[in-house]
């Protein structure tokens, strides 16, 4: 397995390299202290397995995972246990290692990696991958946003309005608002298209949350959201009109 290690601490990289030496199937083809360098490498090279630290400055492990179109098998690494649940919501994350990494625990990780490889091959043979697409996954119901270097979970159905504010977006849910550094287009792509609609260049709304509609605006809770002329027909099409 062509393997890379991504961790901002050199000492962690050395520990993983040493542990990986004991596993004949692993071939370390690169080590990186930033996510950006790893992405550049993966754009040009085939990688089968990645050991990925969650806590890295600027662009953390989950940010990296979200950018990958064809992710390899990933083993997440962190000094904290807090992110384990989130990590397992990704199909291609096969294990979660807590630092300092113990030799015995690393051996178990490698057993899981090998097992996941064989399961993956079997699944391809039986061509059953469409089954998993038919079942809504938990991760499709939630969105993780980076706020003050923490990944905060937002329940997608609870989102009422997303408003663009310069380089930021304001996500308003049933009970809370979040300000996140992101373009509106990025979150628009992540939200289910049958539930959310961009009604104005600065607003994406949850159609289920509309209370009433006037010609050029909609009311969601107490917020009056403008609707651009070009989006009015699409909005009407989406509504269950009598």
């Amino acid at each position: 397995m062509k393997t890379i290690i991504v961790d901002d601490e050199l000492v962690s990289i050395e520990i993983l390299k040493k542990a990986a030496e004991q596993v004949s199937e692993i071939e370390i083809i690169g080590t990186f202290t930033t996510a950006m360098h790893a992405i550049k490498f993966m754009n040009k090279n085939q990688v089968d397995l990645m050991f990925l630290d969650i806590h890295m400055p600027d662009f953390n492990g989950f940010d990296l995972v979200d950018t990958l179109k064809n992710p390899p098998k990933i083993v997440m690494i962190s000094s904290d246990r807090d992110f384990a649940v989130e990590a397992y919501e990704y199909d291609f994350i096969v294990d979660y290692l807590v630092k300092p990494i113990e030799n015995n625990r690393f051996t178990k990780t490698m057993e899981r990696v090998k097992k996941s490889n064989s399961a993956h091959i079997q699944q391809d043979d039986e061509n059953i991958e469409t089954l998993s697409k038919a079942v809504p996954k938990e991760r499709d119901r939630a969105l993780y946003v980076n706020i003050d270097r923490r990944l905060v979970k937002i329940d997608i159905p609870s989102i009422e309005i997303v408003e663009a504010k310069g380089d930021y977006i304001k996500i308003k849910t049933d009970n809370k608002s979040f300000v996140v550094h992101s373009p509106l287009k990025r979150i628009e792509e992540k939200l289910p298209k049958d539930k959310f609609l961009k009604v104005h260049r600065s607003f994406v709304i949850n159609i289920d949350k509309i209370i009433d509609i006037e010609d050029n605006s909609v009311l969601i809770q107490r917020d009056v959201i403008p609707v651009s002329k070009s989006n009015r027909n699409e909005l009407r099409k989406r509504l269950n009109l009598l």
């Binding site: 901002d8 601490e9 050199l10 000492v11 962690s12 050395e14 520990i15 040493k18 542990a19 806590h55 400055p57 000094s79 904290d80 630092k99 300092p100 113990e102 030799n103 003050d148 270097r149 923490r150």
Partner: protein, 110 residues
């Protein structure tokens, strides 16, 4: 106050003395950098930046068997998110102990 040890490094090295001493050297270099960056961030009162350096130092406490200090560093790291400096003095008291323990003249023998 806890005393650091090389139990983890020895166990990981699996009899490879050269690797054990190399790992300690890497740890020392990184710790010196981490501590400098941490102090700089605290001087600027940039607690979110300081938090990221505490996180890295916390890991090294774990590598040196400083379990209690690891837990308190974890509390300090979480507290910094809310500008809570309650664990600062304890955290900073452990740093010179770690640096001294990683003295380049103290070689590991396996």
């Amino acid at each position: 106050m806890e005393t650091p040890n090389h139990l983890y490094v020895k166990q990981l090295s699996n009899g490879d003395e050269k690797f054990a001493n190399y790992l300690v050297e890497v740890m020392r270099t990184e710790l010196t950098e981490d501590v400098g960056l941490y102090k700089n961030a605290m001087t600027r009162k940039d607690y979110l930046d300081a938090k990221s350096h505490v996180h890295r130092i916390k890991h090294k406490m774990g590598l040196l068997g400083l379990e209690k200090s690891y837990e308190r560093a974890n509390n300090f790291e979480n507290g910094l998110r809310e500008s809570d400096l309650g664990e600062q003095s304890y955290f900073e008291s452990v740093l010179p102990i770690m640096i001294e323990f990683l003295d380049p003249n103290r070689k590991i023998k396996l």
